[in-house]
Structure formats: structure tokens, C-alpha cells
């Protein structure tokens, strides 16, 4: 007879509620870790997917993600002439708020250097890639747009020809891919006062100040045998540009711009883990304390220690397993509907599972120690 299961079946509602409570705690922990992973994933999305070996950005800056960057629109031709460079692509990205169908929508407008770059690195869930240099767009589904929708941005209409999923920038704004000329055209539309101010500031313009003709960066693909350091050194010698590798871009984003946010989320995650662990441990310990009388009785009728240990450990593991299942259910059904990506990585989930197992066994050990101290005569207490 499995008395652990008998007890759980008898108090099914209570055990179920305990498991759900633990599941919610674990679910919150999974969510915090997933949010952290999601932020890092979104921040690195373009850097990882776009396939550039080097990023040529404004001199003295860590653009275009960690800082703003503005380089001349003809820089790509200068870069193409450097030995070791196989190809170049122009890059623009900026965030703006637009009114689409009466609703305010934030877009991360991202320029794709079509036809050099067909956008084949963009993961489509519907529609197609670019076939024209103008007036076509690929939108992320988080923008609420669908294939076939026509959106007016600036003075022109753009037809959504493709749809992506999970393509957002580090701020969570859905990507709106257009060709480089279109991204410059959309960005060029400014109120007359701004145009006047830009003219006054001529020569000092950069992206964001309204110089729609500028690029954010030029991406470089190197020839197979080219030494990145040599190519970098040649371009840096011009004096007006900074050249960053893919790894440097990643590092500047994660260890620079996102550093405080990452530390904050990790701190909250650690706290959530600690709270969840303490509550799980306390719950398992309390379950044993509630059964002191029954444990004493089992000892009185001569039960061996393994019967009592089995009761405690099995219940702890059942609660942990049920709680973990509830947490997984919550994570996989609820979090996909959250506005920001909550990235559930199997390794993280396995880590939480192992931590839960350790906590459950640790708590069981304390509970077993208490149970071993129970004397049979306590049944009379």
C-alpha cells in the first residue's frame, strides 16, 4: 500500500492547491528567466541573424545598437574598395510612432539593402520577401499588420508583402522592414520647423535629427581568407568611422546598454528563486509536521523508518512534479500572449527542475530529521 498516494488522494483538493501554488511560484520564476532571455534574444536578433562580419559605424561611437550612429549614405562604396571586403550592405534602423487605422503603433523601421540583400535572413510566417525596391514592407505580427495591408507612412503607401513572428527590437517594438530608399524616405518626413533647424545644424546632423539621407551603419561581409583585424585597421585609419565585429556589437549591447536591465532582472530572478525555494521547502516541512501524529502511530505499530521516509520523500516529489507541470503549463500557455518575448530555453527549464528537485529533497531531509525525532508515545499527545 502506498500511503503517500493514499494521503494525497484523500486530501486531493489540498494537495492540488499546494501544487498549483508551487506551480505559480515556479511559473513566475520561469517567466522572469524567460523575460531575461527574451530581452537578450530580441536585442541580439538583428546582430545574430543579419550575417555581417563587421559593422562600420560613426567614428567614436558604438553604434548602431548601443549608441546612435550616422554615416554618409555613400560610405558603402568607400568600404567596398577595401581589400578583403567581399560585399557591403547599408543598414538603417529607427523607432517611430505612427497612427495606423486610427491606432497608435510603434514601429522599428529597419532598412534592407534590396536588391543586394533579398532579406532571406528574415524568418517569414506568411507572404514573401521583397520583389521591388520601393513601397513594399515586411512587418512583424506584433504590429498588428497582415499581409496585404496598405500602410501610409510619410507621403507614401506601403503594402505589407510578408509577415514575421518575434522580430522585435530591444525595446519590444515590432520590426517593419522596408528597403533602404523607403526607410530614408519615411524618416525624411519632418515638420517644417524641424527641417529649418536641421538646415541650421547642417554638417552636424545624425540619425534621429532628421537627416533622412544618412545611414546608421554599413555591414561588411569579408572574403573567406581576409583577416578582420587588418580590414578593420584599414578602415579605422580613415578617422571618421569606427569598425566593430559582430562579437563587439554583442558585447557592447549586453555589457553596455542592457547591463543595468540585465542585472536588475537577474536580481529579481534570484529573489524569485529564493522565495519560491523557501516556500516550497516550508510547504514540504509543514506537510510533515501536520502528520506527526500519524508518524508516531506508524512507529507505534512498528513501521520501519523507510516507510516513514518513503511517505515524506514521495509526497515532496509528487508535489514538486505536479508544481513543475503546472509551471510548464502556465509558461507555455500564458507567456506567449505577453507583450514582450518570454523565451523558455530547455536548459533553463531543466535547471529549474533540478533546483526544485534539490530543494524538495533538502526540505525532505529536514522533514525526515524531524520525523525521526518523533517518539511512538507522542501518539498519545
Amino acid at each position: 500500500m502506498n500511503i503517500a498516494v493514499k494521503d494525497m488522494r484523500f486530501s486531493m483538493l489540498r494537495f492540488a492547491l499546494t501544487a498549483v501554488g508551487i506551480g505559480l511560484l515556479l511559473g513566475a520564476t520561469m517567466g522572469m528567466i524567460g523575460l531575461y532571455r527574451g530581452i537578450v534574444h530580441e536585442a541580439l536578433l538583428i546582430i545574430n541573424d543579419i550575417g555581417a562580419d563587421l559593422w562600420v559605424v560613426e567614428g567614436g561611437r558604438s553604434g548602431p545598437f548601443a549608441e546612435t550612429s550616422a554615416v554618409p549614405s555613400s560610405l558603402d562604396r568607400r568600404v567596398e574598395g577595401v581589400p578583403g571586403v567581399a560585399s557591403t550592405r547599408r543598414f538603417i534602423q529607427y523607432n517611430q510612432q505612427y497612427i495606423i487605422d486610427g491606432k497608435s503603433v510603434r514601429l522599428a523601421v529597419t532598412g534592407v539593402d534590396y536588391p543586394k540583400d533579398s532579406g532571406s535572413w528574415i524568418p517569414l510566417i506568411d507572404g514573401r520577401l521583397f520583389r521591388s525596391t520601393r513601397y513594399e514592407a515586411i512587418a512583424d505580427q506584433s504590429t498588428g499588420l497582415l499581409v496585404g495591408d496598405v500602410v501610409r507612412l510619410g507621403h507614401d503607401d506601403y503594402t505589407v508583402v510578408g509577415l514575421t513572428k518575434g522580430q522585435v527590437d530591444m525595446g519590444g517594438d515590432g520590426m517593419f522592414f522596408v528597403t533602404i530608399p523607403d526607410s530614408q524616405a519615411i524618416n525624411r518626413v519632418l515638420p517644417s520647423e524641424a527641417i529649418l533647424l536641421n538646415r541650421l545644424a547642417k554638417g552636424r546632423s545624425r540619425m534621429g535629427l532628421g537627416d533622412g539621407g544618412a545611414l546608421a551603419a554599413v555591414m561588411v561581409e569579408l572574403k573567406p581568407n581576409a583577416d578582420p583585424e587588418v580590414v578593420k585597421a584599414q578602415m579605422k585609419a580613415w578617422g571618421d568611422v569606427e569598425v566593430l565585429t559582430q562579437e563587439e556589437e554583442r558585447s557592447m549591447l549586453l555589457d553596455g546598454r542592457l547591463w543595468r536591465l540585465r542585472v536588475q532582472i537577474l536580481a529579481f530572478t534570484a529573489m524569485t528563486l529564493l522565495v519560491a525555494g523557501s516556500i516550497i521547502a516550508l510547504t514540504i516541512y509543514m506537510l510533515t509536521l501536520e502528520k506527526i501524529n500519524q508518524i508516531a502511530l506508524l512507529k507505534l505499530i512498528g513501521a520501519r523508518d523507510r516507510v516513514i521516509i518513503g511517505l515524506i520523500v514521495q509526497q515532496a516529489l509528487w508535489i514538486a512534479a505536479l508544481g513543475f507541470s503546472v509551471a510548464l503549463f502556465i509558461s507555455f500557455t500564458l507567456y506567449p500572449h505577453f507583450p514582450r518575448t518570454v523565451l523558455l530555453v530547455p536548459e533553463d527549464l531543466a535547471g529549474i527542475g533540478v533546483a526544485l528537485l534539490v530543494i524538495s529533497l533538502g526540505a525532505s531531509w529536514f522533514a525526515i530529521r524531524r520525523a525521526m525525532q518523533v517518539r511512538a508515545q507522542e501518539v498519545l499527545a
Binding site: M1, G302, A303, V307
Partner: protein
């Protein structure tokens, strides 16, 4: 004081046992130099006021408490003294001693039959055989129709009968009962006492019952009266008188 013996073989004997508890800085003597033998086929009643040491004696005889001084013997072999770790005697208790208390102390999440079955399974009886034997025992106590009820669904008398069935599951040679009828009405209480009588007469179990209730004196073979941790009188009970036609 040494109690007198009626002819029968001794199952468990407490010899010269004293028990002292610490209550804060004070020592409380619960039992003083007590010697009493419990014999097979004999139903012994232990009576006396509260605090006279009845339950302490039962604990020592049942190997639940070690005596501070003195020894406990099983079939004339010493089995426990002040330094014995009674936790190590759990196996012995399981196979030789049955306990019944004022409260039935059933496991609330097990049905009546499972409460009896667990005692058998703990003693390595296979689940199928354990269940069959548990049913048989419950039927003996008129509880076959209640075997799948949980303790909360049973009356006090039914609960107590389940606890007796559990105590008897592993055929103990010694049955110790502490106020087993205190929570029962007169007729249920007598039923329980008659079960003890039968166990002693038919199964030759040594039965020792601690009670306040003077109504059962006619059922006992021997009545041991205690006061202040000592045996003050040992006299024949009603059953013995009837047998000896006193």
C-alpha cells in the same frame, strides 16, 4: 512491592522499575520500584487515580519508555533497561505487542480495512493476503459493512473496534490498552471488554487494561490497584472469582 502470580506463563514482566521525569528543575517520580508480570491468557486490570503511574507502567511494559531503573523481561529474558534504545525494538513491538488507546488513533486518510491492512503490510505480509486478513478481522468485529469507510465516517465505537482489529493484526502475545472504553457508552464499552476477555480465553493473549471504570471489575482476572507510582493492592477480579467460585 511484588505482585502475586496466578499459574500461567509469564509473557512480559516489569521488574523493580522506577521512572523519574524532569519537570523544570524538579524531579517527578511517576513509578517507584514496581514489579508486575503479565501472563498469557490473563486479563489484568490496572486501576487507580490520575497520576498513579498506570500509563507509565503501560509505556514501560509496551517498550515505549525505558525505565529509569529496573528491567523489562520478555519470557524471562531481559529485553529493556534504562540504557536500551527503544527505537531499536520497533520490530519486536510490531510482532509481539498490540496497543489500544482511549482515542482510536486511526490514520485518517486510510479506510477501515486499510488501517488494519497497513499493520500487516508493515510486517511484510503481501498486500493481497494483508487485505484478506484485514477483512477477516473487521468481520470478526462486525465491521465488514464498514470496511471502505474512512475513520471520520465511523462512530466512536466502530473506530475503537477498528483499532482493536489493527492491534490484533499481527497476532500479538501481549495487548496493552489504555482507557479503551473511556470514549464509549456503556454497551459499546462492554462489547470491547468482552473482546478482550475472548482474546485472553481463546487466543491466550496476555491482556492488560488501564481503566478508571469500576464496571469492568467482573471481567478481569486480576485487578492491580496503583497509587503514587506504586502497586498498593493486587486482588482477584470477577472472572477469577467466578472461576475459583469465591
Amino acid at each position: 512491592m511484588t505482585a502475586q502470580f496466578w499459574p500461567s506463563h509469564v509473557v512480559m514482566e516489569v521488574r523493580g522499575a522506577s521512572k523519574t521525569y524532569l519537570s523544570g528543575a524538579n524531579e517527578v517520580k511517576a513509578l517507584t520500584d514496581m514489579t508486575l508480570a503479565l501472563k498469557s491468557g490473563e486479563l489484568t486490570g490496572i486501576v487507580g487515580p490520575s497520576g498513579s503511574g498506570k500509563t507509565t507502567f503501560l509505556m514501560i511494559a509496551g517498550l515505549l519508555e525505558p525505565p529509569t531503573t529496573g528491567t523489562v523481561h520478555f519470557r524471562d529474558q531481559p529485553i529493556a533497561n534504562a540504557s536500551t534504545r527503544l527505537n531499536n525494538l520497533r520490530d519486536f513491538r510490531r510482532t509481539h505487542v498490540g496497543f489500544i488507546f482511549q482515542k482510536a488513533n486511526l490514520i485518517p486518510f486510510l479506510t477501515a480495512v486499510e488501517n488494519v491492512q497497513i499493520a500487516l503490510e508493515i510486517n511484510d505480509v503481501r498486500p493481497k493476503q494483508a487485505k484478506a486478513r484485514a477483512r477477516e478481522l473487521l468481520a470478526q468485529f462486525g465491521l465488514d459493512h464498514r470496511e471502505n469507510n474512512y475513520p471520520s465516517q465511523l462512530s466512536g465505537g466502530e473506530q475503537q473496534r477498528v483499532s482493536i482489529a489493527r492491534a490484533l493484526a499481527n497476532d500479538p502475545v501481549l495487548l496493552l490498552a489504555d482507557e479503551p472504553t473511556a470514549a464509549l457508552d456503556g454497551s459499546r464499552g462492554r462489547q470491547v471488554m468482552e473482546v478482550f476477555r475472548t482474546l485472553a480465553d481463546v487466543h491466550r493473549v496476555a491482556v492488560c487494561v488501564v481503566t478508571h471504570d469500576p464496571r469492568w471489575s467482573d471481567i478481569f482476572d486480576r485487578i492491580v490497584e496503583m497509587s503514587d507510582g506504586r502497586v498498593v493492592e493486587v486482588r482477584p477480579g470477577g472472572a477469577m472469582k467466578a472461576r475459583l467460585q469465591i
